[in-house]
Amino acid sequence: MKNHLLAALMACASAAFVANTAHAADIKVGLLLPKSGPYAALGKEIEDGFNMALEEGGKSEDFKLVTEDSEAKPQVGVAKARKLVLQDEVDAMVGIVSSAVLGAVRDFVDGSKVPLVVANAGNDEATGKNCSRYITRVSFSNAQINRPMGEWMARIGVKKVYTLAPDYAAGHQMIDAFAESFKAAGGEIVGSEYTPFGKTQDFGPYLTKAKAASPDAIYVFYAGKEAITFVKQYDSFGLKKDIPLYGSGFLTSPLYVAAEGPAAIGVTTALHYVPTINTPENKAFVAAFKAKFDRAPSEFAVQGYDAGRVLVEAVKAGATDRASITEQLSKVSYSGPRGPLTIDPATNNVIQNIYVYETVADGDGLTQKMIGTIGLVRDPANGCTLK
């Protein structure tokens, strides 16, 4: 009895699948993003950017979206990814903010052969030793953002650096990548500390300790509310005037810099997107985004935009189903808001520019002053054997 029912269900399911793929125009996409919890703001930015790309490409009609709340929890993320693939039968998935969620869904995505476009999560393994044909990342890898900064800081004459980051996988990866290239370029790490992740509100004790090590500069990775708290406390402890603050650009992301206020002035960081990139593509994008949402786009919005854009490009190139989308995604290449964007066929990670920028005052508000560009940063394969 049960087997009959199962067979009937399977038949229905595969019929639905055939129906889906029969209409080339109808691409079903599952958006897996946090809608609640501390990452909800990022989820919203990514979704806004994603929708903008579909509209801009004139493809809103052709894509059917199913949205699920990952709550940024691995367990929930896996359950929702399985739902999107097995029940909704999506042709592609987009999203994933938390690296832990990406790690959790990796095997399932790889096994079910559904293309996944990662729009944030940066864990190096996802396009390194755990890479998959089916996982394409248009956001960044943790190493990609921090490695160039090590060389750059050594080049401008910084010799001794103290590092701080939250004590979780991403924190360690960001700092490790920076420290490795900084030391290779002749720099010295005079001390480093990892603060309890998500629980540290008071950086006072760590800042006091960092100051006592008397470095030339401090390099940190913090994001979200920890970034706001850190930047403000760095300033209030009076460290900023003696020891310049550097970091990965999430520290002074446009999304959070308003809450940081004047404390963020003078902080120098690196990121794959800054709203002040001076290209026609970016100016048009920023203007369109501002007109639509009445705020400047953050790097997260651009990641969402590019996640939508690569799908549109893949469909324009003739992709219609899971297999052909997977096929086309690895060939996508264009010049977008963040400059040239290419998917690396060796790892499926994005190849992109990294921008060094300083946060400066601009009237009453703050803006990003570009001070350096490291062109076309490409991650080594790190054990990935796609090619």
């Binding site: 500390e193 309890p196 008071d202 004790p205 006091t208 403000k232 209030s236 009076g238 206020g261």
Partner: protein
Amino acid sequence: MVADADFWLTQFLNGMQLSMLLFLLSIGLTIIFGLMHFVNLAHGALYMVGAYVGVSAAASLGNFWLALIAAPLAVTIVGIFLYVAVIRRMRRAGPMNQVLVTFGLIFVLVDLVRILWGDIALGMEQPAILSGPAEIFGVSYPAYRLFIIAVGLVVMVALSLVLSRTQIGAMVRAGVENDAMASCLGINVERLFFAVFCVGCALAGLAGAVAAPVFSATPSMATDILIPTLIVVVIGGLGSLGGAIVGSLIIGFIQTFGAVVLPGFASVLVYVLLAIVLIAKPAGLLPARS
């Protein structure tokens, strides 16, 4: 580790700052606990509301000090509403139901804050007079943090005086010690509870507004602060001012010095301490009832 006296003095001030913030939150909670055996998990959510009201008031009124008055007032009004709508009816419902209802209140308040203020953390500027570093005992320390310590100490002294020297204080102490006896003596315990509850709300709102310039306002602060505050209350012993003071100082200093001396274990130290205290003294260090 190479560290001089200045280093340890700065860390001492860091510990004091955290302790005073915890004290502002835990004192309201512990007296409500002690007086009415009421478990109010939504206390942290009131702290969050205080921070958001503080941010908005500072932005719209353009004055930090007015924000510092507006936040406790607004939170007290929210508290009175909660009291009338929910808490008064739950007085005799037993601790399990109280835990659940106030747990529900956290969900509601956090989502209302998300709807009203959004998901993105909001910052609040320190008043100009407190924005720079100040010299104290020869070290340079953020003036605003000294202000937090001062606020905590002022509240601490004021509450000690009220509790030990005034008639209201005597009534509260009597209520904590034995509420049945207190009401036999003609004390309106219900009204007393309401008054204490309002003061607790106001202090939570004050703590939120005072903390906002340092920590910024986020929806997650409601639950982030809850556990440390509960730990303070439980370690100190329910219902006692002395317990709240001792508990705040212990937790504030353990967290601060744990972060310096044993960075990897900073987050577990507090729980280890909690377990040890409870195993050794199951009613906390300074319980109000003997």
